[in-house]
């Protein structure tokens, strides 16, 4: 059997469209990205290791990945609730909320950053009530968490919502006729359906948070070893013209991102495969 690279078709424009798309992606995405790896290869393995495992770098990973994970999990809980409420309940303002959920996705990150800082500062709208309780948000790692939670908000809602919408109500009705109470139905019928989408949404929120820069740097305080995220550390190295250091950290982040993207793809494949079977 000979290798068929493309099924024949009467529709025109395939070579032109694909050729242009590949050229464009190569120039804009592929070549520049591979440059990062080439640059990092100028470092020996030992040098590379030393750069990416300094205490300051490790502390930044801990903060970046830790806060991203916690933020993604918070969004997992509240994103599911929001999706559920939006799909299942009717209440005033529903369609406005539905539209606003995407705000963190459309709002420039710098705007989000200064705004969250303003309201969670000790004299801010929300911060002033937290201050007496001994909770400091702005300029602490908690501030990083707030920012990363904010920017991850749409992801869980937008992956869970369509699945919930397409959920077959008949299965729930069947469970009810078979004597299941609401909680049993929820756990046995609804949760298994939502699970892949929920995991995908959490993974997407996490991936987005790991790379986030703009919304964090204003609220974080950016104290090395305490409230400094990895993207900021890269930025700092760049400003000190330490290109190799920046590159090494960039490679760590990029590889992490690719692994996460792969995981998300697998999750999506898993969830669509489940739907195909039904």
């Amino acid at each position: 059997m000979h290798l068929i690279l493309k099924q024949p078709s009467v529709l025109p424009g395939f070579s032109l469209a694909l050729g242009f798309a590949l050229f464009y992606l190569s120039v804009i995405v592929l070549i520049p990205l591979s440059g990062l790896f080439v640059k990092s290869s100028s470092l020996s393995w030992e040098q590379f290791w030393n750069v990416v495992t300094t205490p300051r770098a490790i502390a930044s990973y801990q903060l970046t990945f830790g806060a991203s994970l916690v933020g993604a999990l918070i969004n997992g809980v509240f994103g599911s609730i929001i999706a559920w409420v939006l799909v299942r309940y009717h209440f005033p303002g529903r369609s406005i909320i539905d539209a606003l959920v995407d705000l963190p996705f459309a709002l420039p990150t710098a705007v989000a950053g200064i705004t969250l800082t303003a309201i969670y500062a000790s004299n801010g709208w929300i911060g002033q009530y937290l201050e007496p309780l001994g909770i400091k948000v702005a300029f602490t790692p908690l501030g990083v968490l707030v920012a990363l939670t904010f920017i991850g908000l749409p992801f869980v809602v937008r992956t869970v919502q369509p699945v919930l919408q397409d959920l077959d109500r008949e299965a729930e009705e069947a469970a009810t006729t078979l004597g299941a109470n609401r909680w049993q139905t929820f756990r046995a019928v609804i949760v298994p359906e939502l699970w892949p989408a929920l995991l995908t949404g959490i993974a997407m929120a996490f991936a987005r948070a790991v790379g986030e820069y703009g919304s964090v740097i204003f609220i974080a305080g950016n104290m090395p070893l305490k409230s400094e995220i990895t993207p900021l550390l890269i930025m700092t190295k760049l400003e000190q013209y330490d290109y190799t250091g920046a590159t090494a950290l960039g490679v760590v982040m990029l590889v992490t991102s690719f692994v996460l993207a792969l995981a998300i793809n697998l999750l999506q494949w898993w969830s669509s495969a489940r739907h195909m079977n039904q």
């Binding site: 068929i4 242009f20 760049l238």
Partner: protein, 293 residues
Amino acid sequence: MNVSSAIADRDVEWKDSITTESTFVRRLLISAAFLYLTLFLFVPLAAIFAEALKGGLAAYVGSFLNDDALAAVRLTLLVAAVAVPLNAVFGVAAAWAIAKFDFVGKQVLISLIDMPLAVSPVISGLIYVLLFGAQGWLGPWLLEHDIKIIFALPGIVLATIFVTVPFVARELIPLMQSQGREEEEAAITLGASGWQMFMRVTLPNIKWSLLYGVILCNARAMGEFGAVSVVSGHIRGLTNTMPLHVEILYNEYNAVAAFAVASLLTLLAIVTLIAKTMIERKTDSYNRRKMQA
């Protein structure tokens, strides 16, 4: 509302009641959602405009009417004017190839298109610094020929394009896949040329999603901060886009001006969300009609 639809509504409510929660649980969940959204959406949104108007309307307007602010607006518009059309053409071309043809490596191509979404904005800027910066691969050559890319307009445009590559394509690919190829095949069997087919069959079918993709791409292009921050050099009046201008004003403790410019960017985001909602309604009602017929 006529009688039959009122009955239908009651019918829906009745059916809902079989598969829904007690009023208490329902109120609890709605309250939880509201509380969360209040903390993370409503309060920030209100705060932007409150902070911007803190110094009164005159101070608000004054925040825009100076050379630095106007230069930032101009630069932002210019960058978007280059990046968005290029990404729109790319998005249509990529979606055409992916949605209407079967070829080896399609999944790889889709993953490639999504890649910029997975990359931290700081890295998106960094890669261009490594390529075109003074110490970069092409740095010496560019210096020799007196071409400035990093800390200049081309670098900002490139970083912006990189960050916004996926948006139009991602809107179009699922839509065009679901529309199938039959309409285009029909046009070809009826004697249409490739261009006639595209202009008269394909484009009208995708125009709303294309429009939304362009609007979203534009919002992200104008709002991009991290990537642009790396390649811009923050030269006032020259390489400062609006988000960078916000940062500078904020760091100078000029909160009113910072939030004033921020409020403009927020309006852009809100317009984007409104456009999304309207376009979704349009395509939804179309889908419903199609399903009924």
